[in-house]
Symmetry: C2
Subunit: 129 residues, 2 copies
DNA sequence: AAAAAATTAAACCGATCGGTTGACAGTTGG
DNA sequence: CCAACTGTCAACCGATCGGTTTAATTTTTT
């Protein structure tokens, strides 16, 4: 029932590790547009097939990519559920950065008022704690 | 104006790398409640001071923590702006997982109807933004 | 002044990382 | 069947990781 929420720590390890490499993030960026083979994923980085293959394996291992073998080509597809898990983890902290943004906004607003006109784009965050 | 959006790739490397370790994620969790010293951060993990010090340095390096030295103690504070950057990166992919979640929701709903539910721990997710 | 406390620095450890190369294997087209 | 194509595997490389221990530094306490 909640099983998909439990024991995500290992998932998060793998997902954040996968995302910590710019090549892999770029690969995900490409996969966001279309399904791609290992070779197609490799070429934009002037990297060996084996190198790209390793990166894809990391992404696959993190559950961010699934592979379909058609003949001799391996077609990779973005699988975003684990990205959602990562995002869910991050959002636990959202109030911190929205708080900060609010105070920043307040500062900017005050600065604006001192200088001239402004635009009021407030977030109206609940003030807790 | 958008300068703070540019060249975050190195930031993202550091942030995602910092988040890829469960000890460091837990440290951030503790720092979300209150400011903590290195020693206070170390104790829950039965880890040496030096070990915790290294983890904090990684978090600091990623811009996720700032340090204030008061006497002989170093007080660490969560700094969430970089978490916001990571979240912003992830949200580029949000449409992929919301698509998936919608189909997942449909599946779970169908399953629930077939079985009859026990606890109503539904997510009540907002379906569009 | 001396001891204790909080922390960093440095050296070290085995494990993993990102990447290459070279050998191997299945697929496809002549 | 053979050659080209696509990809993996295994070995290897230097770098970094997460962690320890020991020594040094600074501040507080006695």
């Amino acid at each position: 029932m909640l099983n998909h929420m439990v024991e995500q720590s290992a998932h998060l390890d793998a997902v954040f590790h996968a995302l910590a490499d710019p090549t892999r993030r770029a690969m995900l960026g490409h996969l966001a547009e279309r399904e791609l083979t290992i070779g197609e994923l490799a070429t934009p980085f002037s990297m060996s097939f084996a190198g790209a293959s390793k990166h894809v394996k990391v992404l696959e291992n993190a559950g961010l990519v699934t592979r379909t073998i058609r003949g001799r080509t391996h077609h990779c597809r973005l699988q975003a559920a684990r990205l959602a898990e990562a995002d869910a983890w991050l959002r636990r902290y959202q109030r911190f950065w929205t708080e900060r943004l609010d105070t920043l906004e307040a500062l900017l607003r005050a600065e604006d008022e001192a200088k001239g006109s402004s635009k009021g784009s407030s977030k109206a965050t609940a003030r807790k704690k």
